[in-house]
Protein backbone atom coordinates (compact mmCIF):
# COMPACT_ATOMS: atom_id res chain seq x y z
CA UNK A 1 0.00 0.00 0.00
CA UNK A 2 1.29 3.47 -0.83
CA UNK A 3 1.81 5.79 2.14
CA UNK A 4 -0.46 8.78 2.19
CA UNK A 5 0.74 12.37 2.48
CA UNK A 6 0.67 12.63 6.26
CA UNK A 7 2.88 9.59 6.58
CA UNK A 8 5.52 11.14 4.30
CA UNK A 9 5.44 14.36 6.31
CA UNK A 10 5.87 12.39 9.50
CA UNK A 11 9.11 10.80 8.35
CA UNK A 12 11.54 13.63 7.67
CA UNK A 13 14.34 12.02 9.69
CA UNK A 14 16.52 11.10 6.76
CA UNK A 15 16.98 14.72 5.64
CA UNK A 16 17.67 16.14 9.08
CA UNK A 17 21.47 15.83 9.25
CA UNK A 18 21.90 17.50 5.86
CA UNK A 19 20.10 20.68 6.79
CA UNK A 20 23.10 22.12 8.56
CA UNK A 21 26.35 22.37 6.70
CA UNK A 22 29.06 20.22 8.29
CA UNK A 23 31.79 22.23 10.04
CA UNK A 24 34.57 23.06 7.67
CA UNK A 25 37.76 24.80 8.75
CA UNK A 26 38.20 26.69 5.47
CA UNK A 27 34.63 27.99 5.52
CA UNK A 28 35.00 29.00 9.15
CA UNK A 29 38.16 31.00 8.41
CA UNK A 30 36.46 32.60 5.41
CA UNK A 31 33.54 33.79 7.55
CA UNK A 32 35.78 35.04 10.36
CA UNK A 33 37.99 36.93 7.90
CA UNK A 34 35.03 38.53 6.17
CA UNK A 35 33.41 39.49 9.48
CA UNK A 36 36.64 41.00 10.79
CA UNK A 37 37.18 43.00 7.62
CA UNK A 38 33.55 44.18 7.67
CA UNK A 39 33.82 45.25 11.32
CA UNK A 40 37.07 47.17 10.72
CA UNK A 41 35.57 48.78 7.63
CA UNK A 42 32.49 50.01 9.48
CA UNK A 43 34.62 51.33 12.31
CA UNK A 44 36.93 53.09 9.85
CA UNK A 45 34.07 54.64 7.89
CA UNK A 46 32.48 56.08 11.02
CA UNK A 47 35.79 57.47 12.21
CA UNK A 48 36.93 58.88 8.91
CA UNK A 49 38.34 62.30 9.51
CA UNK A 50 36.65 64.88 7.30
CA UNK A 51 36.97 68.32 8.75
CA UNK A 52 36.71 70.62 5.74
CA UNK A 53 33.66 69.81 3.77
CA UNK A 54 30.44 67.81 4.25
CA UNK A 55 30.52 64.50 2.41
CA UNK A 56 27.58 65.21 0.09
CA UNK A 57 28.87 68.62 -0.90
CA UNK A 58 32.33 67.19 -1.52
CA UNK A 59 30.86 64.43 -3.65
CA UNK A 60 29.02 66.94 -5.85
CA UNK A 61 32.20 68.99 -6.10
CA UNK A 62 34.09 65.85 -7.06
CA UNK A 63 31.63 64.98 -9.82
CA UNK A 64 31.82 68.52 -11.09
CA UNK A 65 35.62 68.32 -11.03
CA UNK A 66 35.53 65.06 -12.95
CA UNK A 67 33.34 66.74 -15.55
CA UNK A 68 35.83 69.60 -15.91
CA UNK A 69 38.75 67.17 -16.00
CA UNK A 70 37.51 64.73 -18.56
CA UNK A 71 35.22 66.84 -20.71
CA UNK A 72 37.03 70.18 -20.79
CA UNK A 73 40.73 69.36 -20.63
CA UNK A 74 43.18 71.97 -21.87
CA UNK A 75 46.89 72.83 -21.81
CA UNK A 76 47.93 76.16 -20.38
CA UNK A 77 51.26 75.83 -18.60
CA UNK A 78 52.38 72.81 -20.58
CA UNK A 79 52.22 72.10 -24.28
CA UNK A 80 51.26 68.90 -26.03
CA UNK A 81 54.85 68.28 -27.06
CA UNK A 82 56.12 68.83 -23.55
CA UNK A 83 53.58 66.40 -22.17
CA UNK A 84 54.73 63.75 -24.68
CA UNK A 85 58.31 64.34 -23.60
CA UNK A 86 57.28 64.02 -19.92
CA UNK A 87 55.45 60.80 -20.67
CA UNK A 88 58.59 59.43 -22.36
CA UNK A 89 60.63 60.32 -19.27
CA UNK A 90 58.18 58.46 -17.05
CA UNK A 91 58.26 55.50 -19.40
CA UNK A 92 62.07 55.68 -19.46
CA UNK A 93 62.22 55.58 -15.66
CA UNK A 94 59.95 52.54 -15.63
CA UNK A 95 61.92 50.67 -18.32
CA UNK A 96 65.32 51.49 -16.87
CA UNK A 97 64.46 50.46 -13.31
CA UNK A 98 62.80 47.27 -14.52
CA UNK A 99 65.83 46.24 -16.61
CA UNK A 100 68.36 47.05 -13.88
CA UNK A 101 66.18 45.41 -11.24
CA UNK A 102 65.52 42.28 -13.30
CA UNK A 103 69.21 41.66 -14.04
CA UNK A 104 70.25 42.05 -10.41
CA UNK A 105 67.23 40.15 -9.11
CA UNK A 106 68.11 37.20 -11.37
CA UNK A 107 71.45 36.89 -9.62
CA UNK A 108 70.03 37.36 -6.13
CA UNK A 109 67.17 34.93 -6.68
CA UNK A 110 69.66 32.15 -7.46
CA UNK A 111 70.72 32.57 -3.83
CA UNK A 112 67.13 32.82 -2.63
CA UNK A 113 65.84 29.65 -4.32
CA UNK A 114 65.95 26.78 -1.86
CA UNK A 115 66.78 24.12 -4.45
CA UNK A 116 69.73 26.07 -5.85
CA UNK A 117 71.47 27.46 -2.79
CA UNK A 118 70.47 25.62 0.37
CA UNK A 119 68.15 26.20 3.29
CA UNK A 120 70.17 28.58 5.41
CA UNK A 121 71.29 30.88 2.60
CA UNK A 122 67.82 30.97 1.09
CA UNK A 123 66.19 31.76 4.43
CA UNK A 124 68.59 34.63 5.05
CA UNK A 125 68.20 36.18 1.60
CA UNK A 126 64.42 35.85 1.77
CA UNK A 127 64.20 37.57 5.13
CA UNK A 128 66.34 40.50 3.92
CA UNK A 129 64.31 40.80 0.74
CA UNK A 130 61.01 40.70 2.64
CA UNK A 131 62.12 43.61 4.83
CA UNK A 132 63.27 45.65 1.81
CA UNK A 133 59.95 44.97 0.10
CA UNK A 134 57.96 46.05 3.13
CA UNK A 135 59.29 49.61 2.87
CA UNK A 136 57.21 51.51 0.29
CA UNK A 137 59.09 52.55 -2.87
CA UNK A 138 58.57 56.24 -2.19
CA UNK A 139 60.36 55.96 1.17
CA UNK A 140 63.35 54.26 -0.46
CA UNK A 141 63.53 57.02 -3.02
CA UNK A 142 63.36 59.71 -0.35
CA UNK A 143 66.01 57.94 1.74
CA UNK A 144 68.36 57.71 -1.26
CA UNK A 145 67.54 61.32 -2.07
CA UNK A 146 69.19 62.56 1.12
CA UNK A 147 72.65 61.57 -0.06
CA UNK A 148 72.27 62.01 -3.82
CA UNK A 149 69.73 64.83 -3.99
CA UNK A 150 66.18 64.82 -5.32
CA UNK A 151 66.11 63.83 -8.97
CA UNK A 152 66.47 60.96 -11.35
CA UNK A 153 69.45 59.31 -9.63
CA UNK A 154 67.61 58.88 -6.34
CA UNK A 155 64.44 57.81 -8.14
CA UNK A 156 66.21 55.21 -10.27
CA UNK A 157 68.17 53.75 -7.36
CA UNK A 158 65.19 53.71 -5.00
CA UNK A 159 62.86 52.15 -7.55
CA UNK A 160 65.48 49.63 -8.68
CA UNK A 161 66.09 48.65 -5.07
CA UNK A 162 62.41 47.90 -4.54
CA UNK A 163 62.15 46.16 -7.93
CA UNK A 164 65.03 43.86 -6.96
CA UNK A 165 63.29 42.79 -3.77
CA UNK A 166 59.97 42.22 -5.54
CA UNK A 167 61.39 40.28 -8.47
CA UNK A 168 63.72 38.22 -6.27
CA UNK A 169 60.70 36.80 -4.49
CA UNK A 170 58.89 36.10 -7.76
CA UNK A 171 61.91 34.65 -9.58
CA UNK A 172 63.05 32.44 -6.72
CA UNK A 173 59.57 30.96 -6.42
CA UNK A 174 59.64 30.23 -10.16
CA UNK A 175 63.04 28.54 -9.77
CA UNK A 176 61.72 26.34 -7.00
CA UNK A 177 59.11 24.95 -9.39
CA UNK A 178 61.85 23.44 -11.55
CA UNK A 179 61.98 19.66 -11.64
CA UNK A 180 64.65 18.51 -9.22
CA UNK A 181 65.53 15.55 -11.44
CA UNK A 182 66.85 17.84 -14.17
CA UNK A 183 69.12 19.67 -11.77
CA UNK A 184 70.44 16.45 -10.25
CA UNK A 185 71.06 14.90 -13.65
CA UNK A 186 73.05 17.94 -14.72
CA UNK A 187 75.00 17.98 -11.47
CA UNK A 188 75.76 14.29 -11.80
CA UNK A 189 76.99 14.69 -15.36
CA UNK A 190 79.48 17.26 -14.13
CA UNK A 191 77.88 20.47 -15.36
CA UNK A 192 79.25 23.61 -13.74
CA UNK A 193 77.06 26.00 -11.76
CA UNK A 194 76.98 28.49 -14.62
CA UNK A 195 76.00 25.78 -17.08
CA UNK A 196 73.21 24.60 -14.81
CA UNK A 197 71.88 28.14 -14.46
CA UNK A 198 71.95 29.05 -18.14
CA UNK A 199 71.09 25.68 -19.69
CA UNK A 200 68.46 24.45 -17.25
CA UNK A 201 67.24 27.02 -14.74
CA UNK A 202 66.89 29.98 -17.07
CA UNK A 203 65.21 28.28 -20.06
CA UNK A 204 62.76 26.22 -18.03
CA UNK A 205 61.51 29.15 -15.94
CA UNK A 206 61.70 31.76 -18.72
CA UNK A 207 57.96 31.94 -19.21
CA UNK A 208 57.40 32.81 -15.53
CA UNK A 209 60.28 35.27 -15.51
CA UNK A 210 58.81 37.10 -18.49
CA UNK A 211 55.33 37.38 -16.91
CA UNK A 212 56.66 38.73 -13.64
CA UNK A 213 59.03 41.17 -15.30
CA UNK A 214 56.28 42.66 -17.43
CA UNK A 215 53.95 42.87 -14.45
CA UNK A 216 56.66 44.80 -12.64
CA UNK A 217 57.13 47.05 -15.68
CA UNK A 218 53.50 48.11 -15.41
CA UNK A 219 53.91 48.63 -11.66
CA UNK A 220 57.05 50.65 -12.24
CA UNK A 221 55.22 52.91 -14.67
CA UNK A 222 52.76 53.90 -11.96
CA UNK A 223 55.62 54.06 -9.45
CA UNK A 224 57.47 56.43 -11.78
CA UNK A 225 54.39 58.66 -11.87
CA UNK A 226 54.24 58.67 -8.10
CA UNK A 227 57.96 59.40 -7.76
CA UNK A 228 57.52 62.35 -10.08
CA UNK A 229 54.72 63.70 -7.92
CA UNK A 230 56.24 63.05 -4.51
CA UNK A 231 60.01 63.07 -5.04
CA UNK A 232 60.56 65.46 -7.95
CA UNK A 233 61.79 62.81 -10.36
CA UNK A 234 60.43 64.58 -13.43
CA UNK A 235 58.00 63.23 -15.98
CA UNK A 236 54.23 63.18 -16.02
CA UNK A 237 53.94 62.78 -12.26
CA UNK A 238 55.86 65.97 -11.66
CA UNK A 239 53.75 67.87 -14.22
CA UNK A 240 50.65 66.56 -12.52
CA UNK A 241 51.94 67.76 -9.18
CA UNK A 242 52.73 71.19 -10.60
CA UNK A 243 49.31 71.47 -12.26
CA UNK A 244 47.59 70.42 -9.05
CA UNK A 245 49.53 72.02 -6.23
CA UNK A 246 50.99 75.08 -7.92
CA UNK A 247 48.61 76.17 -10.68
CA UNK A 248 45.37 74.73 -9.23
CA UNK A 249 44.25 73.97 -12.77
CA UNK A 250 41.84 71.03 -12.79
CA UNK A 251 41.44 71.13 -16.58
CA UNK A 252 45.17 70.76 -17.06
CA UNK A 253 45.17 67.83 -14.64
CA UNK A 254 42.50 66.33 -16.89
CA UNK A 255 44.67 66.70 -19.97
CA UNK A 256 47.62 65.08 -18.17
CA UNK A 257 45.37 62.31 -16.88
CA UNK A 258 44.39 61.50 -20.45
CA UNK A 259 48.09 61.15 -21.23
CA UNK A 260 48.57 58.82 -18.29
CA UNK A 261 45.56 56.75 -19.31
CA UNK A 262 46.76 56.55 -22.90
CA UNK A 263 50.28 55.46 -21.98
CA UNK A 264 49.14 53.04 -19.29
CA UNK A 265 46.71 51.33 -21.66
CA UNK A 266 49.26 51.22 -24.49
CA UNK A 267 51.78 49.75 -22.05
CA UNK A 268 49.28 47.13 -20.92
CA UNK A 269 48.37 46.08 -24.46
CA UNK A 270 51.98 46.25 -25.64
CA UNK A 271 53.31 44.22 -22.76
CA UNK A 272 50.60 41.58 -23.19
CA UNK A 273 51.52 41.24 -26.89
CA UNK A 274 55.27 41.15 -26.27
CA UNK A 275 54.79 38.73 -23.38
CA UNK A 276 52.83 36.31 -25.54
CA UNK A 277 55.38 36.51 -28.34
CA UNK A 278 58.34 35.99 -26.05
CA UNK A 279 56.55 33.14 -24.33
CA UNK A 280 55.81 31.46 -27.61
CA UNK A 281 59.44 31.90 -28.58
CA UNK A 282 60.58 30.47 -25.28
CA UNK A 283 58.30 27.46 -25.64
CA UNK A 284 59.44 26.78 -29.22
CA UNK A 285 63.04 27.03 -28.12
CA UNK A 286 62.36 24.57 -25.35
CA UNK A 287 60.85 22.13 -27.84
CA UNK A 288 63.78 22.37 -30.22
CA UNK A 289 66.42 22.13 -27.54
Amino acid sequence: MLPNNSEIAAAPVVLEPLRRKPFNRANFVVSVTLLAIAAITLYALFNLENKYIPFGEGLLLMLDNFRLMFLEPHFKHFTFGKAVYSALITLGLAVLTTILGAVIAFGVSLLAARNLSGNRMSGFVRAVVAVIRAVPTILWVLIFAVSSGLGSVAAVIGMTWHTISYLTKAYSEAFEEIDNGTLEALKASGASRIQIVFQAVFPSSLSYLISWTFLRLEMNFSNALAMGAAAGAGGLGYDLYMAGSLYYDIREIGALTFFILFFAIVLEIGSTRLKNRLRKGALNNGKQG
Binding site: E49, L61, V135, I143, S152
Partner: protein, 262 residues
Protein backbone atom coordinates in the same frame (compact mmCIF):
# COMPACT_ATOMS: atom_id res chain seq x y z
CA UNK B 1 76.31 20.68 -39.74
CA UNK B 2 72.74 21.09 -38.60
CA UNK B 3 73.49 21.11 -34.88
CA UNK B 4 76.14 23.78 -35.35
CA UNK B 5 73.68 25.88 -37.27
CA UNK B 6 71.13 25.49 -34.54
CA UNK B 7 73.52 26.68 -31.86
CA UNK B 8 74.75 29.50 -34.10
CA UNK B 9 71.22 30.72 -34.65
CA UNK B 10 70.41 30.42 -30.98
CA UNK B 11 73.55 32.35 -30.02
CA UNK B 12 72.82 35.03 -32.59
CA UNK B 13 69.30 35.43 -31.28
CA UNK B 14 70.49 35.72 -27.70
CA UNK B 15 73.04 38.29 -28.83
CA UNK B 16 70.39 40.41 -30.54
CA UNK B 17 68.01 40.23 -27.57
CA UNK B 18 70.78 41.29 -25.18
CA UNK B 19 71.85 44.06 -27.56
CA UNK B 20 68.23 45.25 -27.84
CA UNK B 21 67.78 45.33 -24.06
CA UNK B 22 71.06 47.22 -23.64
CA UNK B 23 70.04 49.78 -26.24
CA UNK B 24 66.66 50.30 -24.62
CA UNK B 25 68.36 50.73 -21.25
CA UNK B 26 70.83 53.20 -22.74
CA UNK B 27 68.05 55.22 -24.39
CA UNK B 28 66.05 55.23 -21.17
CA UNK B 29 68.99 56.43 -19.09
CA UNK B 30 69.77 59.15 -21.63
CA UNK B 31 66.15 60.26 -21.57
CA UNK B 32 65.92 60.38 -17.79
CA UNK B 33 69.42 61.88 -17.44
CA UNK B 34 70.44 59.00 -15.23
CA UNK B 35 74.15 58.43 -14.90
CA UNK B 36 74.97 54.82 -14.09
CA UNK B 37 78.41 55.63 -12.65
CA UNK B 38 76.95 58.30 -10.42
CA UNK B 39 74.17 55.93 -9.42
CA UNK B 40 76.57 53.17 -8.43
CA UNK B 41 78.78 55.63 -6.58
CA UNK B 42 75.94 57.15 -4.63
CA UNK B 43 74.82 53.77 -3.35
CA UNK B 44 77.61 53.25 -0.78
CA UNK B 45 77.24 56.91 0.18
CA UNK B 46 73.59 56.33 0.97
CA UNK B 47 74.39 53.24 3.05
CA UNK B 48 77.04 55.14 4.95
CA UNK B 49 74.67 58.03 5.59
CA UNK B 50 71.89 55.69 6.73
CA UNK B 51 74.22 53.84 9.09
CA UNK B 52 75.26 57.06 10.80
CA UNK B 53 71.96 59.00 10.79
CA UNK B 54 68.99 56.86 9.97
CA UNK B 55 68.10 55.02 13.17
CA UNK B 56 65.69 55.94 15.98
CA UNK B 57 67.15 57.53 19.12
CA UNK B 58 65.65 58.10 22.58
CA UNK B 59 63.99 61.36 21.53
CA UNK B 60 62.37 59.66 18.57
CA UNK B 61 61.08 56.86 20.80
CA UNK B 62 59.10 59.39 22.82
CA UNK B 63 57.09 60.08 19.65
CA UNK B 64 56.17 56.41 19.32
CA UNK B 65 52.58 56.71 20.67
CA UNK B 66 51.85 59.52 18.24
CA UNK B 67 53.27 57.53 15.33
CA UNK B 68 51.37 54.40 16.35
CA UNK B 69 48.07 56.25 16.35
CA UNK B 70 48.79 57.55 12.82
CA UNK B 71 49.70 54.02 11.78
CA UNK B 72 46.43 52.69 13.15
CA UNK B 73 44.53 55.37 11.25
CA UNK B 74 46.34 54.40 8.03
CA UNK B 75 45.86 50.68 8.63
CA UNK B 76 42.10 50.78 9.09
CA UNK B 77 41.77 53.20 6.19
CA UNK B 78 43.66 50.78 3.92
CA UNK B 79 41.48 47.86 4.98
CA UNK B 80 38.26 49.85 4.58
CA UNK B 81 39.27 51.10 1.13
CA UNK B 82 40.06 47.56 -0.02
CA UNK B 83 36.79 46.20 1.42
CA UNK B 84 34.50 48.88 -0.02
CA UNK B 85 36.36 48.62 -3.32
CA UNK B 86 35.84 44.85 -3.27
CA UNK B 87 32.07 45.23 -2.84
CA UNK B 88 31.88 47.45 -5.91
CA UNK B 89 34.32 45.21 -7.75
CA UNK B 90 32.16 42.09 -7.21
CA UNK B 91 29.20 43.81 -8.90
CA UNK B 92 31.26 45.10 -11.80
CA UNK B 93 33.12 41.82 -12.21
CA UNK B 94 29.86 39.86 -12.40
CA UNK B 95 28.50 42.31 -14.96
CA UNK B 96 31.74 42.39 -16.92
CA UNK B 97 32.76 38.74 -16.93
CA UNK B 98 32.13 36.78 -20.11
CA UNK B 99 30.37 33.93 -18.35
CA UNK B 100 27.99 35.92 -16.14
CA UNK B 101 27.35 39.10 -18.12
CA UNK B 102 23.77 40.31 -18.52
CA UNK B 103 24.33 41.70 -21.98
CA UNK B 104 27.11 43.03 -24.17
CA UNK B 105 26.47 46.67 -23.38
CA UNK B 106 26.77 46.33 -19.59
CA UNK B 107 29.80 44.10 -19.97
CA UNK B 108 31.65 46.60 -22.14
CA UNK B 109 30.66 49.48 -19.88
CA UNK B 110 31.83 47.64 -16.76
CA UNK B 111 35.14 46.75 -18.38
CA UNK B 112 35.66 50.30 -19.57
CA UNK B 113 35.01 51.80 -16.13
CA UNK B 114 37.33 49.26 -14.49
CA UNK B 115 40.09 50.05 -17.00
CA UNK B 116 39.67 53.76 -16.33
CA UNK B 117 39.94 53.33 -12.57
CA UNK B 118 42.83 50.89 -12.76
CA UNK B 119 45.04 52.80 -15.15
CA UNK B 120 44.85 56.20 -13.50
CA UNK B 121 47.44 55.81 -10.79
CA UNK B 122 46.63 56.21 -7.11
CA UNK B 123 48.87 59.28 -6.93
CA UNK B 124 46.88 60.92 -9.75
CA UNK B 125 43.61 60.15 -7.95
CA UNK B 126 45.04 61.71 -4.81
CA UNK B 127 45.94 64.92 -6.64
CA UNK B 128 42.48 65.15 -8.20
CA UNK B 129 40.59 64.41 -4.99
CA UNK B 130 42.61 66.99 -3.13
CA UNK B 131 40.60 69.56 -5.06
CA UNK B 132 37.25 68.31 -3.76
CA UNK B 133 37.89 67.09 -0.23
CA UNK B 134 40.94 69.06 0.83
CA UNK B 135 43.66 67.80 3.11
CA UNK B 136 41.58 65.24 5.01
CA UNK B 137 41.46 61.53 5.62
CA UNK B 138 38.58 61.22 3.21
CA UNK B 139 40.79 62.24 0.27
CA UNK B 140 43.24 59.46 1.01
CA UNK B 141 40.46 56.97 1.57
CA UNK B 142 38.79 57.74 -1.76
CA UNK B 143 42.08 57.64 -3.68
CA UNK B 144 42.82 54.18 -2.26
CA UNK B 145 39.21 53.15 -2.88
CA UNK B 146 39.33 54.06 -6.57
CA UNK B 147 42.61 52.25 -7.11
CA UNK B 148 41.40 49.17 -5.19
CA UNK B 149 38.15 49.09 -7.12
CA UNK B 150 39.92 49.18 -10.49
CA UNK B 151 42.43 46.50 -9.61
CA UNK B 152 39.99 44.18 -7.85
CA UNK B 153 37.45 44.34 -10.67
CA UNK B 154 40.03 42.98 -13.07
CA UNK B 155 41.21 40.33 -10.61
CA UNK B 156 37.66 39.23 -9.71
CA UNK B 157 36.70 39.07 -13.38
CA UNK B 158 39.52 36.63 -14.03
CA UNK B 159 38.56 34.61 -10.95
CA UNK B 160 34.93 34.39 -12.09
CA UNK B 161 35.97 33.32 -15.59
CA UNK B 162 38.19 30.67 -14.03
CA UNK B 163 35.74 29.13 -11.57
CA UNK B 164 32.53 29.28 -13.58
CA UNK B 165 32.26 28.02 -17.13
CA UNK B 166 30.82 24.54 -17.12
CA UNK B 167 28.89 24.98 -13.87
CA UNK B 168 27.09 28.05 -15.20
CA UNK B 169 26.10 26.20 -18.34
CA UNK B 170 24.88 23.21 -16.37
CA UNK B 171 22.78 25.40 -14.08
CA UNK B 172 21.37 27.36 -17.02
CA UNK B 173 20.38 24.10 -18.71
CA UNK B 174 18.63 22.95 -15.55
CA UNK B 175 16.61 26.16 -15.54
CA UNK B 176 18.17 28.08 -12.65
CA UNK B 177 17.61 31.85 -12.63
CA UNK B 178 20.39 34.38 -13.19
CA UNK B 179 20.57 35.55 -9.58
CA UNK B 180 20.64 32.06 -8.14
CA UNK B 181 23.40 31.05 -10.56
CA UNK B 182 25.51 34.02 -9.52
CA UNK B 183 24.82 33.91 -5.78
CA UNK B 184 24.68 30.14 -5.31
CA UNK B 185 27.35 28.89 -7.70
CA UNK B 186 29.69 31.51 -9.12
CA UNK B 187 30.38 33.66 -6.06
CA UNK B 188 30.73 30.84 -3.49
CA UNK B 189 33.20 28.90 -5.62
CA UNK B 190 35.23 32.05 -6.23
CA UNK B 191 35.20 33.24 -2.62
CA UNK B 192 38.56 31.84 -1.45
CA UNK B 193 40.35 33.26 -4.49
CA UNK B 194 38.61 36.61 -4.10
CA UNK B 195 39.52 36.84 -0.41
CA UNK B 196 43.10 36.12 -1.37
CA UNK B 197 42.99 39.06 -3.78
CA UNK B 198 41.34 41.23 -1.15
CA UNK B 199 44.15 40.48 1.31
CA UNK B 200 46.71 41.28 -1.39
CA UNK B 201 44.92 44.60 -1.93
CA UNK B 202 45.13 45.40 1.79
CA UNK B 203 48.89 44.81 1.70
CA UNK B 204 49.25 46.99 -1.39
CA UNK B 205 47.05 49.71 0.09
CA UNK B 206 49.19 50.06 3.20
CA UNK B 207 52.19 50.72 0.98
CA UNK B 208 50.27 53.12 -1.26
CA UNK B 209 48.74 54.82 1.78
CA UNK B 210 52.20 56.08 2.66
CA UNK B 211 52.51 57.70 -0.74
CA UNK B 212 48.97 59.06 -0.68
CA UNK B 213 49.65 60.39 2.80
CA UNK B 214 52.69 62.29 1.58
CA UNK B 215 50.65 63.82 -1.24
CA UNK B 216 47.50 64.62 0.74
CA UNK B 217 48.99 65.32 4.15
CA UNK B 218 47.29 62.55 6.11
CA UNK B 219 48.14 59.45 8.09
CA UNK B 220 51.52 57.81 8.46
CA UNK B 221 52.83 59.24 5.19
CA UNK B 222 52.33 62.75 6.52
CA UNK B 223 54.23 61.89 9.73
CA UNK B 224 57.15 60.67 7.66
CA UNK B 225 57.06 63.71 5.40
CA UNK B 226 56.94 66.06 8.37
CA UNK B 227 59.96 64.51 10.12
CA UNK B 228 61.82 64.10 6.82
CA UNK B 229 61.38 67.70 5.78
CA UNK B 230 62.36 69.03 9.21
CA UNK B 231 65.53 66.87 8.93
CA UNK B 232 64.50 64.86 11.98
CA UNK B 233 65.86 61.64 10.49
CA UNK B 234 65.78 59.70 13.75
CA UNK B 235 62.00 60.03 13.98
CA UNK B 236 61.58 59.43 10.24
CA UNK B 237 63.49 56.16 10.58
CA UNK B 238 61.17 55.15 13.40
CA UNK B 239 58.21 55.72 11.07
CA UNK B 240 59.86 53.49 8.47
CA UNK B 241 60.46 50.77 11.05
CA UNK B 242 56.85 50.91 12.20
CA UNK B 243 55.60 50.64 8.61
CA UNK B 244 57.87 47.64 7.97
CA UNK B 245 56.52 45.92 11.08
CA UNK B 246 52.92 46.59 10.07
CA UNK B 247 53.41 45.32 6.50
CA UNK B 248 55.21 42.19 7.67
CA UNK B 249 52.54 41.39 10.27
CA UNK B 250 49.74 41.87 7.74
CA UNK B 251 51.64 39.67 5.28
CA UNK B 252 52.05 36.94 7.90
CA UNK B 253 48.35 37.03 8.82
CA UNK B 254 47.17 36.96 5.23
CA UNK B 255 49.56 34.14 4.33
CA UNK B 256 48.20 32.14 7.27
CA UNK B 257 44.62 32.77 6.10
CA UNK B 258 45.50 31.86 2.51
CA UNK B 259 47.07 28.60 3.57
CA UNK B 260 43.80 27.50 5.17
CA UNK B 261 41.29 28.69 2.60
CA UNK B 262 42.82 28.28 -0.84
Amino acid sequence: MKLDQFFLRKRRRTFFIVLGVLMVAWAASALTEFNLAKGILSFPEAIQWAASNFYPDAKAMSKLPQIMSKLWETLIMSIAAAAVGAVGAVVFAVLGSNTTKVNGFFSTAARFIATLFRNVDVSAWAMVLLFSFGQSGLTGFLALLFASFGFLTRAFMETIDEVSGSSVEALKASGAGYLSIVCRAVLPSGTPQMISWLLYMVETNIRSATLVGILTGTGIGFSFDLYYKSLNYASASLVVLVIVMAVLVIELISNAIRRVIV
